[in-house]
């Protein structure tokens, strides 16, 4: 079976831990517990009849990506960069962060995820945010109601098989 390391990153409070728990255990909590250090868990997904084991790393959020210990990223096949659709400060500097991440892991797949979609009233507001950003957003999720969370990781697993 194919095994791949995937790391969740982004500013604090954007919902990394929530996405982690939604994907791994299919649970959600409104309580905000700051992540200290790292947590690793695994989930096996199936794409096109093949199993892929995703070792998912959840780390403490930092406002800027160069504050995250580099060693956490090393060896990862993909980076899931999460921002909070309701807080512009979490996506304003996204292109700077992308440069930092591409510098650390030039070969990794990077997925840009806008989270907390359930808090945005309508589709057009989301489209407006997407247009504002200089980088393309890969997927809009809600860890709370689970929208697109599974798909995000299935997509990644599919990419790994290519």
């Amino acid at each position: 079976m194919l095994s791949r390391k995937v790391i969740l990153t982004g500013s604090f409070g954007v919902g990394k831990t929530s996405l982690f728990r939604r994907f791994i255990n299919n649970t959600f909590s409104e309580k905000y517990i700051t992540t200290i250090g790292v947590k690793v868990d695994k989930k096996v997904v199936e794409v096109r009849g093949q199993e892929v084991s995703i070792l998912l790393w959840d780390i403490a959020g930092e406002v800027k990506q160069d504050k995250v210990p580099k060693s956490y990223f090393l060896g990862a096949s993909a980076i899931v960069y999460v921002f909070d659709l309701t807080r512009p400060s979490t996506y304003r500097n996204i292109s700077v962060d992308m440069d930092i991440l591409k510098d650390i892991l030039p070969d990794a797949i990077i997925k840009i995820v806008g989270n907390k979609a359930d808090l945005i009233a309508n589709e057009s507001a989301i489209e407006k945010i997407k247009e504002e950003l200089k980088v393309r957003v890969d997927v809009i999720t809600s860890a709370k109601n689970g929208d697109n969370v599974e798909d995000l990781f299935l997509d990644l697993a599919g990419d790994f098989l290519e």
Binding site: S3, D41, K42, L74
Partner: protein
């Protein structure tokens, strides 16, 4: 080809350039005879030379007599000239090769280097220990009686006693883990631990966290302890080995286990794939089980 002295050149030109169809048939045989004779006269010396050469080539002993000095000569020349003419090329080649397969080469070198360094350090320590023993013997010879008395009460020698006390550790689990990703190259354990790859990932995360948080110049986390469990970590280049141990372990035993790991790595882990895959996982795991989990 050499010509017999005084033999005119044109004779040959004549006989070879004269087309057959211009000669009468009856003369043909005669001509041939003539030509043969001519050849014999002309080539007598050369024939002898060729025969001698043939003999030399056919006879291995004779041949080697002739050829060996030449080869040796060339070899000597080559040895001398090689560094001059090819050094730059060879240097470049090696450099390129090293760059291309740095990880593999280091994985091959690491265990060997580890062993060499350990051997050296052990040797130095032994020298110090010996000199201390010598001094202790001199200084505390009056105490000898006390020690011997104590040993005779317990019925065993003090060193045996100490060794016995130490020897009750057990290897519970062993993991070969890719250094940065935390993915498993192989594992074995006494019990059926379910999520070994999660443990491997977590260990790697802890390792990264600790090594980063208490950053000192190139120092690695070597042990994690919780309760009666110890997890020993030994670093190689593209991977590290983690061993969970229960019971107590002396520093000598730790040292011995470290050596065992180096040997194991040298024997079994030099050909790890760049990315963990199932066949190599199975092979490595089986080997681990055989060596460390009895």
């Amino acid at each position: 080809m050499r010509f017999q002295y005084g033999m005119p050149h044109y004779l040959i030109i004549l006989s070879t350039s004269l087309p057959y169809n211009m000669v009468a048939t009856s003369d043909k045989k005669q001509d041939k005879e003539l030509l043969n004779q001519l050849q014999t006269i002309l080539l007598k010396d050369d024939r002898a030379t060729i025969e001698r050469l043939q003999a030399t080539i056919d006879d291995p002993v004779l041949l080697s007599e002739k050829v060996s000095p030449i080869i040796e000569d060339r070899m000597a020349f080559f040895k001398e000239q090689f560094p001059v003419e090819f050094r730059v090329t060879v240097d470049k080649l090696i450099e390129r090769k090293l760059k291309a397969s740095q990880a593999e080469i280091l994985d091959v070198i690491y265990p060997v280097m580890g062993k060499m360094i350990k051997k050296y350090v052990n040797h130095q320590i032994q020298i110090v220990k010996d000199s201390i023993d010598e001094r202790v013997k001199d200084t505390f010879s009056s105490r000898g009686l006390f020690w011997r008395l104590k040993n005779s009460i317990f019925g065993i020698s003090a060193s045996d006693q100490i060794i016995h006390e130490m020897r009750d550790y057990k290897i519970e689990e062993i993991y070969i883990i890719q250094r940065d990703s935390g993915l498993l190259f192989g594992s074995a354990s006494t019990e059926n631990t379910i999520d070994q790859d999660v443990i491997a990932g977590m260990l790697t995360a802890i390792k990264s966290f600790v090594e980063d948080a208490f950053k000192r110049e190139r120092e690695d986390l070597e042990m994690i302890q919780y309760g009666t469990y110890k997890i020993l970590l030994q670093n190689f280049y593209t991977y590290y080995i983690a061993i969970a141990i229960s019971g107590s372990m002396s520093s000598t035993e730790r040292e011995e286990l470290g050596n065992e790991l180096l040997t194991f790595a040298d024997d079994n882990l030099k050909t790890l794939p760049a990315e963990p895959d199932e066949p190599s996982f199975k092979a490595v795991s089986a080997k681990l089980k055989e060596e460390f989990i009895k």
